[in-house]
Amino acid sequence: MAASTPPSEVTTEPSSDVPIGSKPLQELGSAVIRFAGDSGDGMQLAGTQFTDTSALFGNDVATLPDFPSEIRAPVGTVAGVSGFQINFSAGDIHTPGDEVNALIAMNPAAFKAHVADVQAGGIVVVNESEFTKVNLRKAGYPEGYNPLDDDEFDQKIRLYKVPITRLNEEALADSEMNAKGIGRCRNMFALGLIYWLYQRPLDATISYLESYFGKKKKLPAVAEANIKTLKAGYYFGETTEMFTVKYHVAKAEVAPGVYRKIGGNEAMTLGLAAAAHLAKKTLIYCSYPITPATDVLHYLAAMRHFGIKTFQAEDEIAAMCSAIGVAFGGQLGVTGTSGPGLALKAEGLNLAMMMELPVIVINVQRGGPSTGLPTKTEQSDLLQAMYGRNGDSPLVLLAAQSPSDCFNTAIEAVRIALKYMVPVVILSDGYIGNGAEPWRIPDVKDLKPIEVKHAQAVEGKEFQAYVRDENLSRPWAIPGTPGLEHRLGGLEKDSLSGNVSYDDENHQVMTDLRRLKVEKIAQDIPDLEIHGDPEGGDLLLVGWGGTYGSILTAVDQARAADKSVSSIHLRHMNPLPSNLGSILKKFKKVLVPELNTGQFRMMLRDKFLVDARGLNKVAGKPFLVNEIMQAIDLMLEDKIGDRQFLTPRLHKVEMETQDLDLSNYMEQS
């Protein structure tokens, strides 16, 4: 959570390679900062660098990148603003933070888009050079108005006007680069300034700039210029009279071990690579580029040295079908996509279910429906993954709950798929896929091998492709094995031989077997643990997937205020953990916060006949902790009445704002 601890004056600790400061230092428990600028301003880079530096420094971190779906939206417009939020802390944190403590706005549009999220009394550093008449107009401000001259803001926030563009140009006056090249370095000036403000060492970023621009891109002049302006930004903070204070966020108390910063998509790829290694299989990742899942393909494509093959298919359908071909061929077939791509994969996924082949589908969910909001997060593909196929088509559904949890989820998915010969869908989302946190790197020795059994011919015994073991799993008989020649297909099959069967009773049996097999997997799923009161209480929050951090934080805060609130968090969406039903019965009320209009709530009500209510938001962003807190209070105070769900509107969850005034959306007479 982003709330700052009360500041206390401490003496300055020198960070590497920079002068010892003379200004007072305030110690903070945590801080939330946000970089915002044009999508070409390099804000994602500045944010990533700040994150890396903070993680290396020893803070706990959580991030939220937020960028437009257009690669280069019109320059200077609000639509083109790209943001990157980092929460870094001396304690344990689970979310990128609700309110922003410090905003860096590189132009008027960025200021306009983000200033409302800054806490009262928070810091806003603006690039004053860009607040020109033209840019103010592009940002949509009225003619003759400049927010920097508006007293209203002066009262709410601590506004620092820094002519970043000009100072960057002056710092690089001696550079051989042209004006455009120099201009592109200004994000590093801003980063340097923020590094000073939060007393971060520059080493990690300097070494990144040297290696990326200097060595990889072979542009030493660019590396040098970026480093120079980074330092200039830092020194500017130190020497200018503008800032009267600087901040320090101490290292977090974390378990000993070796850590790295990890994003969800990257963790997913490492999990897949580890799983393939543990199963002694070649990982072949078949995918078609789609936001926000494409990075999974990028990471794996760079892992040829780990024996991993990637296949950029001609479309989502071919990606799905080729992954199934890989599974039939005896290796680990995986595909990845996002919502609209999952729709295209439905037919292939259904065939894999019918063929009972182990294939993994990763769905990094984004805002839907249809093309929806490609770069924003949502959890609205649950029902599609669960039910979006013709016929009765049960399969296994797992949901990762945080960036680093993607690693464990990928391994578990492979373990289940290979043990039970069943397709497994992993639900991630844009928030955890692109978000990052520190990850304690597991010891390889602690990872359990994944046992794979391949059928072999038995002399004098006819091979039956659909005869099952004690787990109801059928044999994985792979081409190249003499004596096991068999044909698979989408037509209904005989319950033992696997030959085509139109027998009516056989179809009933096969439908039952496919369902029972998936249900049986619950035997491998650990019981849910109640966070809070194990014996039950007034209110239970039931979450799943990427909302883990916000729900946990909200429940902790509610409990700190002596409220009878507990939570459970699901990573197994199908089959569900065996003790879920009994947990639900222990609580008087159940609230299901999810980033959709109530998909898991519907599943829960269906399966357990429980009067679950929802907190449902589809605003492209994760829950704010505060939104969940408001919903908790409404539930506890019995104010929700017969409403099935609550919706935060402009971050407020109030009963009187729940119903839209529909006349606003009709033609006005």
Partner: protein, 349 residues
Amino acid sequence: MIQRDGILEMTETPTQLTVLKARDFASDQDVRWCPGCGDYAILNQVRKVVAKIGATKENSVFVSGIGCSSRFPYYMDTYGMHSIHGRAPAFASGIKMANPELDVWVITGDGDSLSIGGNHLIHILRRNFNVKILMFNNRIYGLTKGQYSPTSEEGKRTKSSPMGAIDMPLSPLSVALAAESSFVARAVDVDKNLGSVIERVAMHEGSALVEIYQDCNIFNHGAYSYATDKDTKEDSVVRLEHGKPLIFGKDRDKGIWLDGNRKPRVVELGHGIKEEDLLIHDEHDESLAFLLSRMSHPEFPEPMGVFYQIKDKCYEDLLQEQVDSAIEAKGEPNLEALLNAGETFEVKA
């Protein structure tokens, strides 16, 4: 695995490995095509060829989509996949990446491969996976009982086109050539040369498309009678042989000649035109192959045999080479190193 010779030494098959007979490749399933369907002849020829070239049952995989022809894998006692409409090439690509050693065949029809699966067809061909595609072209949708297909002639009257199809048909072989296929051929279901064409494609290394004229005797009977009837066929088809002139006709008295604009013309031999003046077939000439793929009945005799063949690297091998060279450059895969790559930091107890 059988030893593959170079592309020009195709006739020397390693007979010592031929231990299986055609009937060994028959599965225990009853063949359920309509009596008289052209598919039977193709099935028999394929079984004969795989036996003849010394293929093994365990290393052979037949993959199909949906349609009458796509029931084919059920009738082969090999590994097989009866997959989804149009998607067989994608499944086959996955199988090849998983195990490049397998002999992978795709059995498809004109609707399966050119309509719903058009996208997958062109991409498997351009990637040059070592997958052999046999396209049964009956110019009709049979399994759904007689709608026009992407190869049905203009004006075709069917239940879905009672006033005549207004779609322009396409030439499967022109599509295959444009899609960079490394082997393109055509044969007729009942023709005695079908076996030799299938044998050629079986020995080819790379993506291959064979168009097989196949009679649907229920919904489009006689679509190719010009190319199968004793009276007309010799005047309606021209058999391609590498390095030989294009001669045809019952009395072998007609040929194909290229005019000054490189347009093909049907000419009669003997009136001042000698065999050496005729178009000489060159299997490695892409533009010639395309020209041949545009020749259609009744204006021209339709070419039969191998239109085009080149040798090129296969996708699955190139992919494996990338893996091998990356491992050679960076050392044997090490999970611990992979997990610990990048910037790490240690928190001490």
